[in-house]
Point group: C2
Chain length 259, copies 2
């Protein structure tokens, strides 16, 4: 590699067991090519350096790292990006991540990783990807678990037309309003609407959904995908109202509706 050849930005997915009591085998959810690529990356951009080191230890158990863990460069995204997201303000006015990509400009590959799943999807990181495109650095997404799509496939809802809209509002009145808006939109466009919630609020959100949605609307809830307890329950709201007792409701969740 010559001094002028740029490094690449690899998007490295992480297992979905972040914060869970029992860790799965990393080979359960990451292909060997993803593990091998990760093992060779010496410069990382991440949400949290500590959990990135823990991830790399798991990688090392399968594919030995090319350099000792202590010698790797691990940069964290600023707190501001965690809180406000990469797209605060209009496109291009968000966080400028170009300084994080210095080592790629100098010829080294960089890995971008989030706490669980794919960086830049329902997670920070897109500002880093945009900066790479601006700098002419190749962006290469690696295969791994993406909970939104595992949930969509497992829901049986429309996978030819769907949207992910992030989190619903937390306050009761705007939340009910948003639920009804999404139901109307889904009825008009036949588009599945996916959204997520902080695990300790899953039960409360499910209750509010069952109060607000039409009995004929289809509601899917996936919990703990890729974990041993993984489950997806998908049925009409009328049937949910009859029975939804025995779900592992405090696991990471993806909700979907189709009206």
């Amino acid at each position: 590699m010559t001094a002028t050849q740029k490094g690449r930005l690899f998007l490295v997915p992480a297992p979905l067991d972040f914060g869970c009591d029992v860790q799965q085998n990393i080979t359960d959810s990451l292909p060997m090519a993803t593990l091998q690529t990760a093992a060779n990356i010496q410069h990382w951009v991440c949400e949290n350096a500590k959990t990135t080191r823990a991830f790399l230890k798991r990688v090392n158990d399968i594919c030995p790292l090319s350099q000792p863990l202590q010698s790797l460069s691990i940069q964290e995204l600023p707190r501001e990006v965690h809180k406000k997201g990469d797209h605060a303000g209009s496109l291009g006015e968000g966080f400028d991540a170009k300084p994080l990509l210095q080592s790629a400009k100098a010829g080294s590959d960089i890995g971008l990783i989030s706490e669980a799943g794919m960086p830049a999807i329902a997670d920070p990181g897109s500002s880093v990807v945009r900066a790479a495109h601006t700098l002419g650095i190749d962006v290469i997404p690696l295969v791994g678990p993406i909970s939104l799509m595992l949930a969509l496939a497992a829901s049986g809802l429309n996978g030819q037309n769907f949207a992910f809209i992030g989190y619903l509002p937390q306050d009761a009145e705007p939340r009910s309003k948003r639920i009804k808006e999404l139901e109307t939109l889904s009825r008009q466009t036949h588009q599945t609407q996916l959204f997520i919630e902080t695990p300790y609020r899953n039960a409360a959100l499910l209750k509010v959904l069952l109060q607000n949605l039409n009995p004929q609307t289809h509601l899917s809830l996936s919990l703990g995908l890729t974990l041993n307890e993984a489950t997806t329950c998908s049925k009409k709201v009328a049937l949910w109202r009859q029975n939804h007792a025995e779900l592992p409701i405090s696991l990471p969740a993806v909700f979907g509706i189709l009206a």
Copy 2:
């Protein structure tokens, strides 16, 4: 396993090299757990039995199949589902896939697979998943490549709010109208709009997009994801108009816009 215990429906992702000249290593895009699970499944529901057998041969090279290939049961989804999709008509009035799940009712696991990527996402299969939920059969999605999300992550566009809307209309006038509708929707909601095209029409669609979109709109095009030639080009339309000559434009593509 007792006679009354039901089998499960596994959603088995396939590599993204379907129809490509060079096949990749299956371990590049499928985790070992996915390969091991697939190797143990004796009943399959698929788009095409021939390509399913080719997939299983590739699995067998890594994880020996539990039964000889010739003895496996492989059922194809009817042509009607391929053409009209699983959601023709309103939800629940589409294709009734319950008869395809007889062996799960009898206690055997079933694998659902499409030609490339995840079944039931931008591909047939959701009718089978819905039938499983109706019959009380557990649905378990396995990890593998999903081109829409690899493309979204690699685009740097908004991954906290996005929609996939399938194909654009083929006729010139409704297509231009739809492009402008999607651009307006994206501007109003800050939602990334993803869509796909049949590979031989990619170049024509790109041309029409560059004619119709606002110069300040961000356009991303991912081609051949997970293949050696994989590339993602993501920039404003004004920059696209200056230069878009050297892309492998006839590879499977995912388009994304953010206005």
